[in-house]
Symmetry: D2
Subunit: 368 residues, 4 copies
């Protein structure tokens, strides 16, 4: 497995399993001189922490980050930043039974097929705890992007059949309800829906939406590192994601050119604008200066206590009720993971873009 590294210039490598010593990440390529504290990172980790509502796993983890390297006197040094979160609340005993069978919807079978065996405790490397490294690194990327004027607004757009109503959209609601929805009514309806799911030992999927403002035009590298292509890859690398779209997404497939094209115009200040943003801020794989908008579809949590058919490793058909401490819906906790992957992608491409033009290269070296 050589797939634990992401990025070209702003490059991260994550490690760690659910029930090992801990999980962590190395950030290599963060520019030197960025003010950075453990609190900057902890704030993000707290957003994904379990146990914050009845709709997430009761597993309690403080998930306190420790900075091991790369920061000196409050600023990044340009050298690798190593971040670790030690595991504290492992209950491996919960998982002893699942060593023998393959949980439906999980990676148990595929890991066994690839590697010959697996660390079956808590899903090993395919556990949701693997995202801690992404979130910690995403916090650093977002700190950098914040200085460049880039802002993220990420929230739950739908849970199961319950979708937010654009007419009721209120960003301040996102942090007020346990489902991170920007619509109080939808959040209430979704909670009712989730309670029903939980009563039958079932779970729900949902959709996360992310709006990024302040991205300058020109970000993204044709033809295989397009901004949308890299965002798709980044978000699709999160476990449980089954769909991704930019701007109008699948709806664009049903549209016509006349309705889908975004007309350009100069506003009264002479600034180039678009009358609409069906494109979601990306044309030809390069940002156009308007808001970047994308969505990710998450499948329902596969770990459910309802009875299911499956097989043992040893050739027998059986039925199981998956025990353990699981989330009835992963989507609200995935919000910060999606935002982290967006931030990592943008930070990398914005740094890479600095070498795109000879005039800026000359200016860089002549002004030293």
């Amino acid at each position: 497995m050589s797939g634990s590294t992401f990025g070209t210039i702003f490059k991260i490598t994550t490690w760690g399993e659910s029930h090992g010593a801990g999980v962590g990440v190395i950030i290599d390529g963060c520019p030197a001189g960025l003010p950075l504290t453990e609190e900057d990172i902890q704030t993000w980790l707290d957003r994904r922490k379990p146990g914050q509502s009845r709709f997430s796993t009761p597993r309690k983890e403080d998930d306190l980050v420790a900075v091991q390297s790369g920061i000196f006197e409050g600023r990044t040094t340009g050298t690798p930043i190593s971040l670790i979160v030690y595991n504290k609340n492992q209950r491996s005993a919960d998982y002893s039974e699942i060593a023998s069978y393959y949980r439906p919807g999980h990676a148990d079978y595929t890991f066994d097929q690839k590697y010959g065996f697996r660390d079956y405790r808590g899903g090993g490397r395919s556990s949701a705890r693997e995202t801690i490294g992404r979130v910690a690194a995403g916090a650093v990327a977002a700190k950098l992007l914040g200085l460049l004027g880039v802002r993220f607004l990420t929230y739950v757009k739908s849970i199961g059949p319950v979708t937010i109503d654009p007419a009721r959209f209120d960003a301040s609601e996102i942090c007020k309800n346990p489902l991170s929805m920007p619509d109080a009514q939808a959040a209430a309806d979704a909670q009712d829906y989730l309670k029903t799911c939980m009563q039958s030992g079932n779970s729900s999927g949902g959709i996360v939406e992310c709006i990024i403002t302040g991205v300058p035009a020109g970000i993204g590298e044709p033809v295989f590192q397009k901004l949308d292509s890299e965002l798709a890859r980044a978000v699709f690398s999160i476990g449980a994601v089954k769909g991704f779209e930019i701007g109008d997404g699948f709806a664009a497939a049903r549209a016509t050119g006349l309705s889908n094209n975004d007309a350009f115009y100069y506003n009264e200040k002479g600034i180039l604008c678009k009358k609409t943003n069906h494109a979601g801020g990306i044309l030809g794989g390069i940002s156009d200066g308007s808001d970047i908008i994308f969505r990710a579809a998450f499948k329902p949590t596969p770990s459910i206590s309802a009875q299911q058919d499956t097989v043992t490793k040893d050739g027998e058909n059986r039925s199981v009720c998956v025990k353990g401490r699981h989330d009835p819906v992963i989507v609200p906790r995935a919000v910060v993971v999606v935002e982290a992957m967006g931030a990592l992608t943008l930070a990398d491409l914005m740094l890479e873009n600095m070498a795109a033009r000879i005039d800026t290269v000359l200016s860089f070296y002549q002004n030293r």
Copy 2:
């Protein structure tokens, strides 16, 4: 721009613009000894050739491939395979006017913002002709995968509002209608719809679906080179793609764990199977041995002859009718491009997977 390379082991690099000398691709990392002829590649290029129906651009290009290196006595040598298709039917005069303004829905503005200027002839590097290199390389990847038992079935699932009916699904229809739809009735309806679009100088989007059979379990590298993540990136790097989904995709977001989990069972021969395939053949980013199923949403062709509002480079608002030879729908010609990106992704990950286990590594070196 440093984004023209795709893949880790089976690695391709494309080059070329619509109106330059030609377009091409280098394939580096194709195993030695693969039987390969120009015909193997030409067959694929012929599938994407324009001018084959009234629904694609009347621009005529033979698009004949020339193998420049990497093949000796009918077999690949293990060294880079260089493939070139020379441009023959350039009419740059058609594009002289568009140097001055930004076409809505195109990359004119974003290329100018990134690089300071652009090759405005025919879209330059963001032209659909850029896909020729991908298709030529995809043919080689598919030849390799064919020996390994991997097969592709790719077709148009919908055009604008017209979608195929699963009850009428007939794979043999795909090559019988100009829209590559596996449903004769849907193909007829879609043609009617397209004629209406064309009469008003308009265009349509659509959806391509791809089913890959014969992929062994175990392909994909957690956590940032998951098979689904790499497929998403690969397909989203095709111009005009706005959405991507695996298996049930966005529908999974509305499902429950109980309905979405695929139950495992051993069939009468003792082979592990799944009762359903909502996952689209991928669990935890690794293939599970069942069919890989994915879809890509394409936006409508942005080049339309209907009148649109836009701006000039020099600060003026104006309206335009984009001239030139354009496709009213790009989706049927995109089928082979989607298939090529799928083949390139799989070939790379199947080669990378060979080093996953110590027993196979030992076996490889001890049997020499």
Copy 3:
């Protein structure tokens, strides 16, 4: 700084400074199923540990490795292996003075120029402690290579003007003297030489030689990942290396084709052999099955207590005597670092080589 990752398939990323929390490495891409214990790694770290003789820094570090992930029930899982060595014997006070001036022969000035400031405690990232991550990862690579029949013999060939005499070469001597020389007489002479250096607050350079046996023919990827090119890069990435050669090296520049070419012949068992090995086991960047032989030249330790001229950051010329706990010669402790870099390079290229031929690819997938 985005240069902390090495390798394509067997990929490592190191982190950590001399005086931060610790140093470590992530190994991503080690095949699953390799038996591995902390002792396997500790043995290698003990070989580079300081304070083992009067010729190395008296700084005492236990340098105990902790495995954080990637091993389950005594075997690698195929997931990232995170290894940490915590720093325990930091005396930052020793370094407070050097914040103000640039030590000759050190990276103080260049780090300041690149990043705008630096972590001046103990050399920060350019400290010799950075090599701990390489050595820990090298131990894992060597464990893998050992199963494949690859063996390393690495030693000090010369220190200052004292060079081993081939006529007295005795591999069993290497671990008997503190200078790791395979010649007892040369080791004694070199110790006398070093004592003289130390008396004048001076230091010495030297040469490390490495012989690798058991490498099968065919390893190395033309044209930019040749085995010799990758070894050169790997070894030259060790601080203080100023020269590298394969086989006859610089002596080959003075030779003729007739004297330098290694004649092939079949021995009595019909096995292809070479009468000589001027090439050092590599032809055209690919291993030829004979011993791989290379050498690295190390400059003298730049930290010396003798008085030297230098400058302060603030524009003044001054003279300094560098304090702190330093090695009068780094070469003996570099032996294991050179061996580690050799092992990492070979492990990566041997895994990459598995996909070189279609027959082995077919065999791999058909035998599953």
Copy 4:
């Protein structure tokens, strides 16, 4: 073989064999807006062209470059630059015999071992013609570096036993003698030596030295992309290189810290300088602003007409006289190849360095 790509930002991919259709290179990541003509590139190719003196192969090749993409109206567009040189003077018949045996000192045997067979015409991919792509790309890198004030002075330092005398060093001599030596007397002596070699069907090795001026301090990425490490890798990837050193190189191994450290001082203008340059311009893997100096040792041309012992593929010992058109010394023609690899390495690292500090990143995006 997946090793045909070099570089991270300024990235090249070469292709082509000695006796195929041609050889070429794709440059991806060259900044947009660089003025560039075919003449800029042809000038470099003419420097490596064979047949210019009695000391190089009489094979006549015009080696005319054709630019296929990436340049519009005289400037680079930021998209891939594809450069091709078609082969015109192939005489495959010359090589029909060598299909059956392994030439000593060549890659015939190792290619067969790696790939199972080889393109035996003219050495296939291990032919010296492979360097055409490097030289063409190096010309583009050097054009870019020239605008940044970086200059190269590259020459032959020694041929066989004949070395230039520093006291007679005259850069203007380099282009006046067929051996590219900056010392007329040494060039005359070396020609005499080569004539003796040729009379006995023998060949000679030699050393190329390169001095790069104008490189700003701060270039190079610790710890695995150090400037010296990347130069070592780049130069060692040229066929026939057996040794590489920076600054004092192997001589530093015999030196002491006191003699080898370069003392810093501020000159009368307050500019930081070094009294000596034993380091060759690199400290801790990062340029220090003084001249970069390195040397490469080339082995003698392995193709010689004198009789040698070798083996056939089919198990027989035999003796051979290698026919064909070969250089008695490759070193003078290698000068431009070494310079090209130096330029490619520096261009890549200078672009990568732009993202090293937060202040320059902020300045870049705020000044847009």
